[in-house]
Amino acid sequence: MTDILSKAATASEIARAVMSGKARASAVVEAALKRIEASEPTVNAFTDIVADRARRRAVEIDAGRHLGPLMGVPFAVKNLFDIQGLPTRAGSKINVDGPIARRDGALVRKLEAAGAILVGSLNMGEYAYDFTGENAHYGPSRNPHDPTRMTGGSSGGSGAAVAAGEVPLALGSDTNGSIRVPASLCGLFGLKPTYGRLSRAGSYPFVDAFDHLGPLARSTEDLALSFDAMQGWDPDDPVCTDRAVEPTLLALHEGIGGLRIAIAGDYFAKGGEPEGFEAVATVAKALGATKTVVLPNAAAARAAAYVITAMEGAQLHLPRLRTRPQDFDPDTRERFMAGALLPGSWYVKAQRFRRQYRADVLKLFNDVDIILAPATPCSAPRIGQVMMTLGGVELPVRANLGMFTQPISFIGLPVVAVPTRKPGLPIGVQVIARPYNEAAALRVAAYLEKQGVCVSTPA
């Protein structure tokens, strides 16, 4: 049995222990704070630690308040989530001079309402325009499996904190791959839900057309438990769905019977290093998947996601690019500036094409329920690495770590990133489902976990 106070304990194990009185929330929180103190010099995952708040909350839970399915579970959030009393950094130096959050973000409130305990905020690439986890202001988050390597980003601190076992659960955001890329490089399970499924109220935006929030954890059960607690309509996010809550936790035990599973071919089967495709093959074999499907025009989808991101992101930050360019991270500044100068016709074309691509991809789901694709084209590059070789071609790291995630978030499909690991560094696979069918992707992930094919252990 897992020691509940150790780094290996999952959120579900902690919640069960606290609920049944076998462990006290206060002891769980103290153990997490101690682990954070010990690991931070190596992984640099946290930017704020709210120890007093966490201790107060734990005392309340031990006194019988805040009963819920995540009772006593310590968690942390990417620092673009509002935390009452703190500035919402969003990875920037500029925002520290901005307003102090008067209220926690919607998902922080939902997790705490379920009994979880916020312990701090996590490092991220500046304004989420990042796939590396590097940050000039706060230093890079470091991969717990090899601290000389990137966590992936932009939810880099979220990846590092969970992979190091500082906390069992973290929230991140994913616009083009920012949950799935760090999940892949850090060997975690990550859920990017359907676009609009979870409220984004009280989080700092990047690209409204693609911004999603979701959890990273070391077990499928933890993803389902936290996802279920965070679902529900929120009038404060105009994109948030008014569909009824669709709990996924019980579905995890259903196995994969009846699910038609295919492998994404063409665009998703080239342009990466062998380890990415081997991971897909390993997962496909375990699932008995042999059929291949082609997402038509995936390269154009990636291009369109890039254009919309560059232009929406630049427009958002234009006032600050004019007045405080020197305070930007040098690795985002000129990319934002360039985005402000691109022709408007590109943006409109990208949005028009999105409709076509969505219709074409949804058609595929008449014949399949799940599509498998690589999460990243390679395992974690070295921190500071600028160029990498993918499929024999020299390419910039920053723009290309998300080449396989971008065409999926572009149309808001739900994805569970599942970890594989041979000797060496971990690498993930995307388990993609049709809109609002997170349950199917989570069932597949749970099956792979049960079979021992996809397992996440803290470094």
Binding site: N297, A300, K349, R352, P396
Partner: protein, 62 residues
């Protein structure tokens, strides 16, 4: 046709003026590089032909 290639430095300088974005000399080269990269990455989209009937999906609900 090589002559059809845009002068990206000129593009950056003039577009920045048009939108009122001052670009300090020390940033200019990297901005030009990123516009060049954007042009390359956007190609698969720019090369597509779309039907006139294809309109964007609105999220606006009156």
């Amino acid at each position: 046709m090589a002559d059809d290639k845009p002068d990206i430095a000129l593009w950056v300088d003039e577009a920045a003026k048009a939108i009122g974005l001052p670009i300090a000399p020390e940033y200019r080269e990297k901005v030009i590089l990123n516009v060049e990269r954007s042009l390359a990455i956007a190609q698969p989209l720019l090369a597509l032909e779309l039907e006139d009937e294809l309109t964007p999906l609105p999220v606006y609900r009156p």
